[in-house]
């Protein structure tokens, strides 16, 4: 790791002003991606601004419309939350699949979504559920938030303070992990909300998380396995690496979509 300066933010405003003062600053959520990246000398921020002690970013709130999760909430808190389990069990299930227990104890939803790793789980839930990303500056629809590999609509000094997930009629998630990293090789989040069906895919696409329009079109307004049985997906949009060819990933997306629908 290169030299860096650590700053602990006490509030969202404090974090933003510390970021403004920094030459090349980075916000630190749980650090489950940023710190390994810094250890490998692939990132070298002059300053890191720790958001872990910002009280406003904690907590999970449920109301009739859905669930709002603070940006600083850890994966294990989401996985264990009775409110999340009641409103969107698929989201709780997804959170319990991220990393391992120790990573889940520290990693945060805000950090994961802001990082937008193309194989991370949360982006598929955001996109699949049509979530709203709430920042210290504005509210961004998930459809507009994820721009590309590790790229989002966030400005440099913008912080995800919370994410609002509307309550779906039905939702499910299925993940096929990369055998080595255990990140998603294909993770599919399906949701039916008010007659609208979304199929969001992580880990497989060439350009990060995306909505699989072929599956959405086949499903129409409701989730049924039979509707996608005959579909074969276009492999040209899929990522290829030593763990999986694009054809294999195209197959996995369909299989995981079926399993997510069955789980919903």
């Amino acid at each position: 790791m290169y030299e860096t300066s650590y700053h602990r933010a006490s509030s969202v405003d404090d974090a933003q002003s510390k970021m403004k003062a920094a030459e090349d600053g980075k916000f630190l959520g749980g650090g489950m991606t940023l710190i390994p990246t810094m250890k490998q000398r692939l990132a070298a921020p002059t300053d890191i601004i720790d958001l872990a002690h910002v009280g406003d970013m904690k907590g999970i709130k449920a109301d009739g419309s859905g669930i709002t999760i603070g940006g600083g909430v850890t994966h294990s808190e989401v996985a264990d939350s009775a409110d999340v389990k009641a409103a969107i069990p698929a989201l709780s299930y997804l959170a319990g699949l991220i990393g391992d227990p120790h990573v889940r104890n520290r990693g945060t939803i805000g950090g994961s979504v802001a990082n937008n790793d193309p194989a991370a789980d949360y982006p598929s839930a955001c996109l699949g559920l049509g979530a709203t990303i709430i920042t210290n500056q504005r509210q961004i629809a998930a459809d507009d938030f994820f721009v590309g590999l590790f790229e989002t609509a966030l400005n440099e000094d913008e912080i995800i303070t919370a994410i609002h997930f509307p309550k779906p009629a039905k939702a499910g998630y299925a993940k096929f992990p990369n055998p080595a990293s255990r990140y998603a090789m294909a993770g599919v989040f399906v949701a039916e909300t008010g007659g609208d069906v979304r199929v969001a895919v992580t880990g497989a696409g060439n350009d990060g998380v995306y909505r699989e329009s072929a599956l959405e079109a086949a499903l129409g307004g409701s989730l049924s396995v039979g509707a996608i049985d005959g579909i074969s997906l276009d492999a040209s949009n899929m990522m290829a690496d030593m763990h999986g060819s694009s054809e294999y990933r195209a197959n996995l997306v369909k299989v995981m979509a079926k399993r997510a629908i069955e789980a919903a």
Binding site: Y6, M32, P36
Partner: protein, 155 residues
């Protein structure tokens, strides 16, 4: 350099660290508590697992400054004086270790696992929950057995 104050194994400690110092480096090099190990660079092997404020965390993926003000327990602080913790005992009684290098992280992870799940830990859950801890010696068979035995003992 930053001065940090934290509680480690029940004792107040303070130290001056470079901001880039990892918690595991502080524990090993400054506190000389060398039971916590480093086995990878990508937060996967779990040899470095300690408890921070009561929860299992990877001390290789945390800066020491992030732990300022926290309560940290390492493998050296798990036993109650001369009386070994039930998880430590179970690992010995079930031959849950060979070279010993992953063992401290395994034991800290297992303790956290049992704290969360209680005595009814089935084999499948144990194996799933060990996703963040790699052992190259035991083939996991006796580690799983050790954790199940400890869970029963602690329940």
């Amino acid at each position: 350099m930053t001065v940090i104050n934290l509680t480690v194994n029940g004792s107040e400690v303070s130290g001056e660290v470079d901001d880039r110092t990892l918690l595991v480096q502080f524990i090993r090099d400054q506190l000389r508590l060398t039971g916590t190990h480093v086995g990878c660079d990508t937060s996967q092997c779990g040899a470095c697992v300690v408890h921070v404020d009561g929860k299992a965390m990877k001390s290789c993926t945390m800066l020491a400054v992030q732990a300022d003000g926290s309560d940290v327990t390492t493998i050296e602080g798990l036993a109650d004086g001369a009386e070994l913790h039930p998880v430590q005992k179970a690992f010995r009684e079930n031959h849950g270790l060979q070279c010993g290098f992953c063992t401290p992280g395994m034991i800290m992870a297992a303790t956290d696992m049992i704290n969360r799940h209680g005595k009814d830990l089935d084999e499948e859950t144990i194996r799933e929950e060990l996703e963040g801890n790699i052992c190259r010696c035991t083939g996991y068979h006796n580690i799983v057995k050790s954790i199940a035995a400890a869970a029963k003992e602690m329940g």
